[in-house]
Symmetry: C2
């Protein structure tokens, strides 16, 4: 099959063996895959991954290896990227994303979705309603990560929330958080991207418009820059919450004394629940159509990857449909 | 009056003017003061403080400037070190320790307790029951900081908790947390200090006895070392809590990707409630007598300060009683 492979460099492999679903797993025919900043970080050495990257996808279930009580075969799906052992306490709680023996699609020990075929446990899959296009379905994964914030922490309907970073994840976090009716500001450096959020009714700020006081109940760090955390600590109120979304390959020097003095809660936040993400896409509560920068056919996938690696790029999609 | 002064070096000043209590403030005659690691950090440049250090004390109220409805005059007291503006939302909630215009005894904009006299708002003061000695009363402040942990976060009675650092604060945190009946381990490098905790029924661990798995629901970082946080992140379970107690003058490079991947909550934690601290000292629920390493008369205060600056020292007290 056709697949994008990273093994030091990113290349297109026309003859990659098709993955075999293990018992309980589904074979997925990928329709569209997305390129995430994590994929770009992987090409810089993050987590030492080698293989087929990609963890954002819309696919059709070709087959399930074993019983298919949910009737997934033939359905269009999206799905959770963490494949747990199925036996530990985390998996029993439905939190296979924290299973210590998990594999992660295109990130850890499992080939990913930038290929014609991929595999995932059938229990990870969520059918995609007809109202959601193949392209929009790709956003279910990062949108689930945005909903993880309200899964982890209480956001009140009159809170003041700041999202730092006008990239893809920042945009999705701002839209998801604004559903709570909290007063959400999105700060970024790109007027065109801020305009996308403004068109959804979100207050936007350029860096020189950030308040000098520390008035935010919550600040979401989604800049992807090492300095973002220190900036967030300077904007959150005492006893407020900073949500850390950026995963970076390199460590940065930081002075955490302000976190202690002001008793800030720093919340690491990663993958989230797919149910609310799919519902919000289907109802239109969250809009992702303006976040697509370009769609490349699979044969130009290397070019797509290079495009996505340029700073400030919105979502790059790779089309595996014939 | 006699006072210890830090203005680049630590020295004894025999003729420091006695501080004048502002309206609403009490004039305190200090009986015993303690030297805290924060004082040592101050002599290394932390927060740029100059003046009389010291924020741990037992004192007698000489006078209150204004009405004294609580009848504090003549009483032996301990007290909160943050003096708020009295008018903002934080002060209204009884959280003057987060007031943005606060001064902090011996730390920020206010001379401290290493002197014959000091001043604090009368509303900060808590009478010390007779059962608590002058020496033990000095521990009310750091013990309040230990109780701040259960003030900020839920600790269940069957949780597994690790306190990293067998110093003064680590010992107090372990004792305070063990009251919840959580299974508390204290890890440190000093067999004699670990033995003190063991005598209070706390399980103790040398570095080579730390578990290789990540099984703790909460890890309290009280090492005072820059590497303590990364160590804590390697010992807490996914979605667990790391409480950061150390305030350090210098920033250290750190890789926070594990915090994001495992969705750890990092909780900055500082000053705490005096009520439970005084009650626990009075009832004997927490014992501090074994934590005193030496008591110096005020005239030898510089020597006392030098002793306290040596790594691994337990509590050094400075005696201002005649």
């Amino acid at each position: 099959m056709k697949a994008i492979v990273f093994d030091g460099t990113v290349r297109l492999d026309q003859e990659r063996p098709r993955p075999e679903p293990l018992p309980g797993e589904a074979l997925l025919r990928v329709l569209v895959a997305g390129v995430c900043n994590t994929d770009v970080e992987i090409t810089r050495g993050y987590l030492g991954f080698a293989g087929v990257p990609g963890h954002e996808f819309t696919a059709v279930v070709e087959a399930v290896n074993g019983p298919d009580p949910a009737g997934l075969t033939g359905q269009r799906v999206v799905g959770g990227i963490n494949a747990g052992c199925g036996a530990c306490a985390w998996c029993a709680r439905g939190l296979s994303r924290h299973c210590s023996s998990r594999t992660v699609l295109g990130i850890l020990g499992r080939d990913g979705a930038m290929a014609e075929y991929a595999t995932l446990p059938a229990s990870n899959l969520v059918p995609l309603p007809e109202a959601v296009t193949d392209e929009a379905g790709v956003f279910a994964e990062p949108l689930a990560a945005a909903f993880e914030i309200t899964e982890q922490a209480h956001v009140g309907p009159d809170d003041r929330v700041l999202v730092l970073g006008d990239g893809k994840l920042g945009q999705l976090c701002a839209q998801a958080l604004a559903l709570t009716q909290a007063r959400v500001d999105l700060a970024g450096r790109h007027p065109a991207k801020l305009a996308l959020a403004a068109s959804r009714g979100i207050q936007t700020l350029m860096p020189d418009q950030l308040p000098s006081g520390r008035l935010y109940d919550m600040v979401v760090e989604a800049t992807g820059r090492p300095g973002g955390l220190m900036q967030a600590l300077g904007l959150v109120r005492p006893r407020g919450i900073v949500v850390l979304k950026s995963t970076l390959a390199a460590g940065a020097p930081m002075n955490l004394a302000p976190l202690v003095i002001d008793e800030i809660t720093l919340l690491g936040s990663r993958c989230g629940p797919f149910g609310p993400a799919v519902r919000a896409l289907a109802s239109g509560a969250v809009d992702v159509t303006t976040l697509v920068e370009a769609v490349y056919p699979a044969d130009r996938a290397v070019e797509a990857f290079a495009h996505a690696s340029q700073p400030g790029t919105l979502k790059i999609l790779i089309d595996f449909r014939v």
